[in-house]
């Protein structure tokens, strides 16, 4: 139920993993690559991962969500390498008898993935590039340095 891949993600295939006749709800998150950063046009994104640890951490997040929300179906796929604009970089799919747990678990899983999984995203512009420090972080490309969590 965990996948780290250079291939394009197929949300339908990943979501299909969490369908069960005993479930009434499937909540899916698709992370897609945005075409701009503070008005600057992004041409493409490069995702780099520390593979062994990323897979381990993705599985940890999966297990955490299953334990915390009493779930059995949690699938996570993360893409690495070059990802074009508008393409899917992350899929989290949760199947659950009831929707509340599915929504909470899916949201928290994405938050945790962005906190703990050693994957890095570089935005490539016409005139340069920038390692994204962390999502929604006010970060000027000029002072492109590391930032503690």
């Amino acid at each position: 139920m965990i996948e780290l891949t250079h291939d394009a993600l197929d949300p339908e295939k990943i979501t299909a993993k969490v369908y069960r006749d005993t479930n009434g709800a499937v909540v899916t998150f698709l992370g897609t690559t945005r075409d701009n950063f503070e008005g600057k046009q992004v041409l493409t994104l490069e995702y780099e991962a520390f593979d062994e640890m990323a897979i381990k951490k993705l599985e940890e997040v999966r297990q955490e969500m299953m334990a915390e929300f009493g779930l059995e179906q949690v699938a996570i796929s993360h893409r690495v390498g070059t990802v074009g604009i508008g393409e899917i970089s992350l899929v989290v799919a949760i199947g659950s008898p009831h929707r509340k747990e599915a929504f909470y678990a899916c949201h928290k899983a994405v938050d945790r993935i962005k906190e703990v999984v050693p994957i890095w995203k570089k935005e490539v512009y016409q005139d340069g590039s920038r390692w994204v420090a962390c999502e929604d972080h006010e970060f000027s490309p000029a002072e492109s340095h590391g930032h503690a969590h």
Binding site: G31, Y47, E48, A49, F50, E52, M53, A54, K56, H78, S89, L90, V110, I113, K114, E115, V116, V117, P118, I119, W120, K121, K122, W131, V132, A133, C134, E135, S144, H145, G146, H147, A148, H149
Partner: protein, 81 residues
Amino acid sequence: MELNVRLFALYRERAGANTISVAVNDGATVADLTAEVRRQLPNLAPPEVNIVVAVNADYAAPDVILKPGDDVCLIPPVSGG
């Protein structure tokens, strides 16, 4: 002891290398290692930024003691998703 320290993403680009060799005393901790890394590569991360270390593919606290052969990696701020 001499440790091979792997770098990723921003740190890899700043250092211009996938791996650096860092010499620390036997019994050195993760904190000792990052102090030594800062001496070798003062521009890797500004002083106010904590350099996060993974030992054997898991996050390691500053007081963890390093052993020869440990897989040591420096983890820049993550930005997956």
